[in-house]
Symmetry: C2
DNA sequence: TCCCCAATCCAAAACATTTTGGTAGATTGA
DNA sequence: TCAATCTACCAAAATGTTTTGGATTGGGGA
């Protein structure tokens, strides 16, 4: 590979001039610049990323390093997010460096490495927890970052983030179900270790309260991890009301799942029990809703009523924000909250290939940039028994 | 950030010793090493990736830079592949640098940059075309790479690759359909610009021939790009036999789609026309098959009979191969061809969440490593009229 | 004539590491 | 005891770029 030195020798100028010619400085004559560019091209010259990088320049790369989870290969959301992040990065003339962290302590190590080694200009955080050490860590490391989600210190969030109003999302599906006449709603969730899962659950409780529906702790099952957990949870819900001294009406008529993947598992389980899945509260019929609106949500039968996470928009805004911070174009505390929208799908609806592409830039969302409000009162967030 | 110099000063040794202590060289005493390690830790030292890199070391990063396509955001295969590549890279202690190329000439530029700038140790190529300039380019750039797919010079492939027997895959679904009694099969495909799409099509033709079924060019429609193309194609297939002087039996009883996405579009179109989708060749009933076995294939109704691409395995092997080449552990021409397997799903079948995880390493596939045979005779590959 | 300015250019420093080619001192072998 | 070998360390070179802080011109104004 040829170096800047070779170009300089060939062109009969100093390496300084080559560097400045190639990087568009004004103090090099047009004629010299042209010669240099030509020679650089003919010698197939590409500046060493390592050397410029060492010198302190941009890397034009941002990192995404989620924590490894079990069965991550089948997590649709992860793949969706990563893919759209890559495309958003491209639109911002950036590359995406994707890594995975083994354990929380490995996460720590990776972030320190990323910061210390100068491989990236910034980093994207997801799966934010109510108390998330990564925020402080990155702050102290002086590495620009932007979060998808928020910590629990709602009053005074000191870092840039994008979030979806998760509580409102669940409220929307509960509203939908309540509107259909459902009054016994169950809630199924994975572990309550991320903020968004807590927000979704608190939205569920809020909405029940608003509709004057009772909150029955027997209908809330969290911490579902393995597929077998879902099997057990559904069985437990169905067994309610089977004891002779219990009222038959104990059984839920609708199940609100905290994400689409879970919803799909629940539907499978219900069908295995010979229970049809539909939106109206009748005897042998249970409604199921999801959250995320992953591409498959419209494909399944019955099509899933769910809440849309506008992942493409989210990743675009994340990168907009990150780029602004890297370029010091903004004070680094800007926040964006996107509204949640319920996608209502009826059982025998004809569902077409929906257009999900979204190339909108953050500008159009600026109206949401502003001070953050707590979307959920912390005391609402209790741990549901598993 | 602290540098190696700070550690050296603190420990009272030279930077050479620090470097060698930290990198496990033998000529540093255990006691010194321990001191150095301890101080490095206490100073939160992480070596600068740029500096080591400049010095000629590994970057522990591989790149994946597919060509930008329209509607790429909704391409499930892309996201699936990218996600699984990331996880495979992680298992090999590598990071994945994901970029997108605008145009073919931009691809060229990106690869040259990647090679010249030393940002990555190797690169992963996908969507190989029969004549693919990238192969020669990367060869001349001296950047290790491995391909998913192959060029048309079957006799003497000079680069490492992983491929799936695409022709056999389509043969398998045609066998399935023929076994059900179908005799008029249509073939729908996207553009024939990649090797795999040609192989799939040639498998279709081979199989028809083997079953002594006629090949009717009116039933082959390629170059489908926009969703509206599919609408038109299905309409055209359905209109066959509508003219009074044509036999009613001209209409296909089964449609073989070149990928799952297309199959799903076809199913939607058929349902729009009020035609039920099922596996048996009857009057108002058309069978549809796909290719890829993307996660949603089992979710749709009716569940899709398709051909499995073992993407997780593929990406694992790609990285195994690439790592071997980077480490010079192998002559750089190893090839792996994986068999294709049809996934037969019946219309009202109960489809569970299937386990797709595959963490198998290439070792177990070594039996497929060997000389390559042409999977399809080039003359078979004709361009279907659109 | 002298000085100054703008337009071009450049040498050297800085970036943080690894590798090369040693040296000094201790230990071993004959 | 002397030479050879080992052990533990180090100075300096090499890596390729950008930036800093000038240096060199040629021409215009006083």
């Amino acid at each position: 590979m040829s170096t800047i030195f070779d170009i300089a020798r060939e062109a009969g100028v100093s390496i300084t001039t080559v560097s400045r010619a190639l990087n568009g400085y004004s103090d090099v004559s047009e004629i010299t610049r042209r010669r240099v560019v030509e020679i650089a091209q003919s010698l197939n010259y590409y500046p060493s990323a390592a050397a410029r990088n060492l010198q302190g320049r941009r890397t034009d790369t941002v990192a995404f390093a989620p924590l490894l989870r079990e069965h991550m290969e089948s997590e649709q959301f992860f793949k969706e997010f990563l893919g759209l992040l890559t495309l958003s990065a491209f639109r911002h003339d950036l590359s995406l460096l994707a890594t995975v962290a083994d354990t929380p302590s490995h996460t720590d190590k990776i972030y320190r490495e990323l910061a210390g080694s100068g491989r990236v200009d910034g980093i994207i955080l997801a799966d934010i927890k109510p108390q998330d050490e990564r925020i402080d860590l990155l702050g102290s490391l002086d590495l620009p970052f932007v979060a998808f989600g928020r910590t629990a210190d709602y009053a005074d969030l000191k870092y840039p983030l994008v979030d979806v109003d998760n509580a409102a999302g669940t409220r929307a599906v509960v509203d939908y179900l309540a509107g259909k006449g459902h009054s016994r709603l169950a809630y199924l969730s994975g572990p309550f270790n991320t903020s968004y899962s807590l927000h979704r659950y608190s939205g569920f409780r809020e909405s029940l309260r608003q509709h004057n529906l009772p909150i029955d702790d027997r209908l809330v099952i969290a911490d579902l991890q393995e597929p077998s957990d879902t099997t057990g949870a559904v069985a437990r819900l169905l067994s309610l009301g089977e004891n002779e001294h219990e009222s038959k009406s104990l059984r839920p008529t609708a199940i609100v799942a905290a994400n689409d993947h879970l919803a799909w598992q629940v539907i499978q389980e219900l069908q295995r029990h010979g229970i049809s899945v539909g939106s109206h509260p009748t005897g042998n019929n249970i409604a199921v809703t999801g959250y995320d609106d992953l591409p498959f949500a419209g494909y399944v039968q019955p099509p899933l009523t769910t809440v849309r996470q506008p992942i493409a928009t989210i990743s675009d805004i994340l990168l907009d924000l990150l780029v602004m911070i890297i370029k010091h174009e903004t004070e680094s505390k800007k926040k964006v909250t996107l509204p949640a929208k319920a996608i209502r799908r009826e059982p025998n609806e004809q569902v077409g290939m929906e257009k999900r592409a979204n190339t909108g830039r953050a500008e159009q969302y600026v109206r949401w940039i502003g001070p953050m409000q707590a979307l959920v009162a912390p005391e609402l967030v209790i741990r549901a028994s598993a």
